[in-house]
């Protein structure tokens, strides 16, 4: 899975080299795509030449990070009865996940039923590195984790020493990851909102 067929671009590769490689990669694509590629090359070229070094970094054990924000994508098979239970729980919560706030490093989180309720996709955007993130879940919302994840095959329990291996085993690292504001953690965003509000109040006062 991790073995990649295409060689990673070398550091000293010129933009021209990359264009050539992209043309090769798209050699057997439909004609309108080749046209799109030629039209799109200037923009892509500026994309990859603006910053020499790769912007994607490792999030630690598994997954990738842009700046301060990482991705976690897990797909797990349901245990018997698990899909029914989880669907009912999610329905009863009806969009309320204040547990997510408690974690403190969670930007967003989605729960998606796949393949006729046989598998489940759990995908989050979070701050920092893999290990402390999983530990945050384990220490801050252990019961919520077990209520949800006990729906899956082989879940060892959030307090089990095997839990990290279970998650890593079901995680699939993204090959591409974009974050609009890679420099902003959840905490910094909250701080920024408070500053914005205070500034607005201040401006109101001096103009009023």
């Amino acid at each position: 899975m991790a073995t990649q067929t295409v060689t990673r671009p070398k550091k000293n590769q010129t933009v021209e080299d990359k264009i050539q490689q992209l043309r090769q990669v798209y050699a057997d694509a439909p004609q309108y795509v080749k046209t799109a590629l030629e039209n799109g090359l200037p923009a892509m070229l500026s994309d990859s030449s603006e910053e020499q070094a790769s912007r994607s970094e490792s999030a630690g054990r598994i997954g990738i990070r842009q700046g301060k924000v990482s991705e976690l994508t897990v797909i797990a098979p349901f245990a018997p009865g698990g899909a029914k239970r989880l669907r009912a729980v999610l329905r009863l919560l009806n969009g309320n996940f204040r547990a997510g706030k408690k974690v403190g490093t969670l930007h967003n989180m989605r729960f998606v039923f796949l393949d006729n309720d046989t598998k489940f996709l759990f995908a989050t955007a979070y701050d920092g590195e893999w290990d402390p993130y999983i530990e945050d879940f384990a220490t801050k919302i252990p019961d919520d984790m077990d209520i949800i994840f006990s729906a899956f095959e082989g879940w060892p329990g959030i307090r089990s020493p095997k839990v990290k291996d279970w998650i890593a085993e079901h995680q699939i690292a993204a090959d591409g990851w974009y974050v609009a504001h890679p420099d902003l953690t959840v905490a910094e965003t909250a701080q920024m909102k408070r500053v914005g509000k205070a500034v607005d109040e201040f401006l109101d006062k001096i103009s009023g």
Partner: protein, 208 residues
């Protein structure tokens, strides 16, 4: 299917919190033990969540929304050679997606190869409703999207009138969606960042 779910949701909403708790207990009666135990321990929190007004909203045609921020989750089957091309493209652009900045409403975006490179999971967090979001992509970065999406089976071309139906066909709506700052659009985040910088400069000046 969709109407059935909605009717069930409505009937769940008429239940009292205690009735919901009873329903959860019944559901978890045959769960793995750690799930049943976690449910009892987590009930205080769950009661609060279930007593809160529903926060789940729709993003228009498909997908869930919380406040301003929506989720877009798609799984596409690769056409022949598509996985190799897309992997090559992602590697050559080295994690740079400044083109997504152009769209202006994207918070984050991930590309995950699934099932031995036969399928791709594409998941984004974005501002607002489904239709204008697709139209933003169409009008702002059509070539880049042709280059990405041509790797999937049946892609009609971004300028084709059937494109929205094709996308909808591959979308899997999340059953639950959490956003840490649901009121913050990507544009509002940029504005707040500027406010924060301006404030720092201001404080520097008066501190001198």
């Amino acid at each position: 299917m969709a109407t059935l779910t909605q009717e069930k949701t409505r009937s769940d909403q008429d239940l009292t919190v205690e009735q919901k708790v009873q329903k959860l207990r019944a559901l978890y009666a045959d769960a793995p033990e750690l799930g049943t135990v976690a449910l009892e321990k987590g009930l205080a929190d769950l009661r609060r969540e279930m007593a809160a007004p529903p926060r789940r909203e729709n993003a228009g045609r498909l997908g869930a929304r919380q406040g301003q921020v929506s989720e877009f989750t798609l799984i596409f089957p690769f056409r022949e050679g598509g996985a190799k091309r897309l992997r090559g493209l992602l590697q050559l652009t080295q994690g740079n997606f400044q083109l997504a900045d152009k769209v202006g409403t994207v918070h984050d975006m991930r590309f995950v190869f699934l099932d031995n490179d036969t399928k791709l999971l594409f998941a984004t967090a974005y501002d607002g409703d489904w239709d204008p979001y697709i139209e933003d992509f169409q009008s702002k970065i059509p070539d880049a999207l042709d280059i990405l999406l041509c790797n999937f089976e049946g892609f009609p071309g971004l300028r084709n009138p059937s494109i929205k139906d094709w996308l909808a066909k591959h979308q899997v709506s999340a059953d639950a969606w959490y956003v840490a700052s649901p009121k913050l659009t990507a544009a509002e985040t940029r504005r707040l960042e500027r406010v924060g910088q301006a404030l720092d400069e201001f404080l520097d000046k008066i501190g001198k």
